[in-house]
């Protein structure tokens, strides 16, 4: 009976550093240990599941604190977006979001082992709950940017029923910020130029009383509301614009969603939202194995042996457990092939 061929050693280098790297970026620790194939498998497999899951969940499913069911934004506003979820509108929030009423989002603990996203979501949580994250007035707008929304025009004349009729027009175009001389000195206003969904050109001045949503939120739209004047120089009794501009990518990526945004996610995605979360949970759980692999080497050994995983035949014949004098369970219990150099 011949002695089994010794298994090649795996040089784990500084295994604690490798584990930390694998926590931060799946496979990075293995790359540091020069285990290139495994690094590629771990990176591609886990990042694929994580990114795909987050993309399916509209990049809003990784957050530590779940907002309470009634948000400040939902109270006392003329629009309830849930009435028409296809044309959602969140009223701009003028106060910093509060942690009051939030509860743990348990799925986060399964997602957390993928460190790069955990760190980003922590950073975004701090930014989101910061006291600086409050609504702005017209100065929050840049010089010119794309905007769309709903223009509410109440006619100056009464209709046949003797009431002032309010029309809602969907408009798309751009908002341009300008400074002009007003009744009380220099004032900043914004001018909307665009067209209605019927293709009719439209231009109007917003008043200086623009309410712009806080800069950091999960929603890709940064909402704004304002009274408007001089709608195409047509005399109107009153007008209001409720619209939105694009929120910057980093101001919404992995930012905790508020209750309204979560409700809308459920409405729009249905069971796909759960599937998206499951993808990210599995990715997180798999990365625990990856971190352990960087720390202690492969769990079963260098290569596959007979009787591993209940395989009665064995696919490779390099070693015989009986000849090694070790039971399969004993050989599988420790990363015997790992040579630790720390």
């Amino acid at each position: 009976m011949t002695a089994p061929a010794p298994e090649p050693k795996v040089d784990l280098k500084n295994r604690y550093l490798a584990a930390l790297l694998s926590f931060l970026i799946p496979g990075a620790g293995q790359l540091y240990q020069r285990r290139h194939f495994k690094a590629g498998v771990f990176f591609c497999g886990i990042m694929l599941l994580s990114m795909w899951g987050m993309q399916m969940g509209d990049w809003k499913i990784m957050y530590r604190l779940e907002a309470s069911s009634t948000s400040e934004a939902q109270r006392g506003h003329p629009f309830d977006p849930r009435e028409d979820p296809h044309e959602p509108f969140n009223p701009p929030r003028d106060r910093a979001p509060s942690r009051t009423g939030t509860r743990s989002h348990w799925g986060y603990f399964a997602q957390a082992p993928v460190g790069i996203f955990t760190l980003i979501s922590h950073l975004q949580e701090r930014r989101y709950y910061s006291e600086k994250n409050i609504g702005a007035a017209v100065e929050g707008l840049s010089a010119e940017q794309a905007a769309e929304g709903f223009l509410f025009i109440t006619d100056v004349a009464r209709n046949d029923a003797g009431q002032f009729e309010t029309r809602r027009v969907v408009v798309r175009g751009s908002l341009r910020r300008e400074t002009r001389d007003g009744e009380f000195g220099r004032e900043e206003i914004a001018i909307f130029t665009g067209e209605t969904d019927a293709g009719v050109p439209v231009e109007f001045l917003t008043s200086s009383q623009i309410q712009l949503d806080a800069p950091i939120a999960a929603d890709s739209r940064r909402y704004l509301s304002c009274p408007v004047n001089d709608i195409d120089a047509v005399p109107t009794r009153s007008g209001e614009f409720h619209g939105w501009i694009d929120r910057g990518w980093f101001d919404r990526f992995l930012v905790p969603p508020d209750a309204l945004t979560i409700e809308r996610l459920h409405y729009n995605l249905g069971k796909k939202l759960t599937l998206a979360e499951v993808f990210t949970w599995i990715a997180g759980m798999l990365n625990v194995l990856v971190i352990w692999d960087a720390l202690a080497g492969p769990a079963y050994g260098y290569r596959r042996r007979p009787f591993d995983d209940g395989d009665q035949t064995g696919s490779t014949k390099s070693t015989e457990p009986a000849a090694a004098g070790a039971t399969p369970s004993a050989s599988a219990s420790a990363p015997a092939s790992a040579e630790v150099k720390s």
Partner: protein, 67 residues
Amino acid sequence: MNPLLLAQTENMLWYIAPLAAAISMVYSASRYEETESILQRAVRLFFQITIFMALVLGVLWALSYNL
């Protein structure tokens, strides 16, 4: 259901294939070091997962028949 409508509906079962493939590869790679061993085990695990899920689907389908 109309077969044409059914074909147009996104079937979520298709998500099992890439999910099972990623799980098989990552899990197997955490067990062994040698590329050949990883790949062999990953292929085997992929089919194990797929067949198991198909069996579960079959059981659930049978239990919900005519419901």
